[in-house]
């Protein structure tokens, strides 16, 4: 029963929401709307559970003491968490303190993280482009042609480089991407079907 009930609820909920999405059945609309609201309510509870886990782990780490490199990040996290919660709940999301945290702390940190991808990409490309096999050699040649086609210096060296790059992107790359996209779409339908019919129950835990 521990497994059958979740499978039954998943199937009923999924079928009602699918029927409501694809067909115009007025009788289903209130049920579909109610189920979506339940999803929001459940998400609120899981957020509380997840936040409790975060606070518990970092509080324990601070209370145990130890190296400054271990304690300090947890202390910063807990301080940031409580200050943000306090300013958001008690002072409001449009308050100057909440806006300051968002605009001057969160946004620059997120931008810095995003900017780091450039350096990581360079080091990953360096390793991937080493021509150790025929496939890696093809990757290297394609990559070099594409870089020359996209960078201004490439056109200066030879005017055909941008055209070669356009061909690689528009024919080779696009055909490969579309093949992968079709297979992913079919795979997603397969996963959904297995979950809705109860064939796939691994997310309910091991049997």
């Amino acid at each position: 029963m521990k497994r059958e009930l979740p499978v039954f609820l998943t199937a009923i909920t999924g079928l009602i929401l699918l029927a409501d999405y694809y067909f115009n059945i007025p009788a289903l609309k209130p049920y579909a709307s109610a189920m979506q609201n339940w999803g929001v309510i459940i998400a609120a509870f899981t957020l509380a559970l997840a936040a409790a886990n975060l606070i518990k782990i970092h509080t324990l780490r601070v209370s145990r003491g130890g190296r400054i490199g271990t304690v300090l990040p947890s202390l910063v996290l807990l301080t940031g968490l409580f200050v943000t919660i306090f300013s958001g709940i008690f002072l409001g999301r449009s308050s100057p303190s909440f806006s300051f945290i968002f605009n001057n702390m969160y946004t620059p940190l997120a931008a810095a993280f995003y900017a780091m991808t450039a350096f990581h990409l360079a080091s990953a490309s360096y390793r991937a482009f080493r021509a150790r096999s025929a496939q890696a050699a093809v990757l290297l040649i394609t990559g070099v042609l594409l870089m020359l086609g996209r960078a201004p210096i490439g056109e200066t060296i030879w005017s055909r480089f941008p055209k070669i790059a356009d061909w690689i992107m528009g024919v080779g790359n696009l055909a490969g991407s579309r093949g992968i996209m079709i297979s992913i779409a079919v795979g997603v339908i397969g996963v959904s079907m297995r979950v809705l019919t109860g064939i796939d129950r691994a997310h309910l835990g091991a049997e």
Binding site: N53, Y114, G190, G205, A206
Partner: protein, 238 residues
């Protein structure tokens, strides 16, 4: 797909071995030998909505990896980026350890929630990789721009890394940075492959039939288009 599932009751189709999946068991074994943890993350996707399929496929693999780790007494470090996924991941890992008869071996900090926000989740995962120096990093789930950052962190920590994702914009980054990558549908079929469940494997065969039909329709459409008939292209474009 349903026909293939029905047929699998009498004859179980064979799935070709996938290098990335075969490597998971070896990678967990490596962590056991080195006495270091296995880091697993299903990304920051939700178990509901548009990112549900890769997240559920990732959680499916978490159960498999969790059982391998419990059997070999290897520490698991799981980072999660969505509260709903956190609750499910915790339950999946607990039940994997219980099935292996080692519920006490699962540490309190095995599954940790980082943040729903993309780069805060990334920082959380990077922190665990840098602090715990796992022998193996498994990135199986929903990933976006953080893919290359976490994959490179695994390289810097000296870990063997295996990735699986359906976001086709991020797949090249995983291919470039990780030791093995499960590309798109391979990843979605991974759970069925390791389960040895005939019905689940049957559904994978059904997916291949659907793909064959899609390819046939595309080829017919191209031929019709070449001869000036646009009806197939118009129908497929709807």
């Amino acid at each position: 797909m349903l026909v293939a599932v029905y047929r699998s009751r009498t004859s179980v189709p064979k799935i070709r071995p996938l290098a990335g999946l075969e490597a998971i068991e070896e990678a967990v074994g490596r962590a056991t030998e080195m006495g270091k943890p296995v880091l697993f993350t299903p990304g920051y996707g939700d178990v509901a909505g548009t990112n549900a399929a890769p997240t559920i496929a990732g959680l499916d693999m978490l159960g498999y990896v969790g059982r391998l780790a419990a059997r070999r007494d290897t520490k698991m470090a799981v980072t999660v980026g969505h509260p709903n996924t956190y609750a499910v991941a915790l339950d999946v890992l607990r039940s994997a350890y219980m099935v292996e008869g080692r519920p006490d071996a699962l540490g309190d900090d095995a599954v940790t929630f980082g943040s729903e926000i993309q780069f805060a989740f990334t920082a959380h995962t990077l922190g665990r990789i840098q602090r715990e120096k796992p022998a193996t990093c498994l990135f199986l789930g929903y990933f976006a721009a953080e893919a290359i950052i976490v994959a490179e962190a695994a390289v810097a920590a000296g870990s063997i890394s295996i990735a699986g994702a359906t976001n086709h914009f991020q797949l090249p980054f995983f291919v470039a940075a990780c030791d093995y990558t499960l590309i798109g549908e391979e990843f979605l079929a991974a759970g069925a492959y390791v389960s040895n469940d005939p019905r689940r494997i049957g559904s994978i065969q059904g997916q291949d039939w659907v793909k064959a039909i899609a390819v046939a329709l595309a080829v017919i459409g191209v031929i019709m288009q070449v001869f000036g008939n646009k009806s197939m292209a118009t129908w497929l474009g709807k």
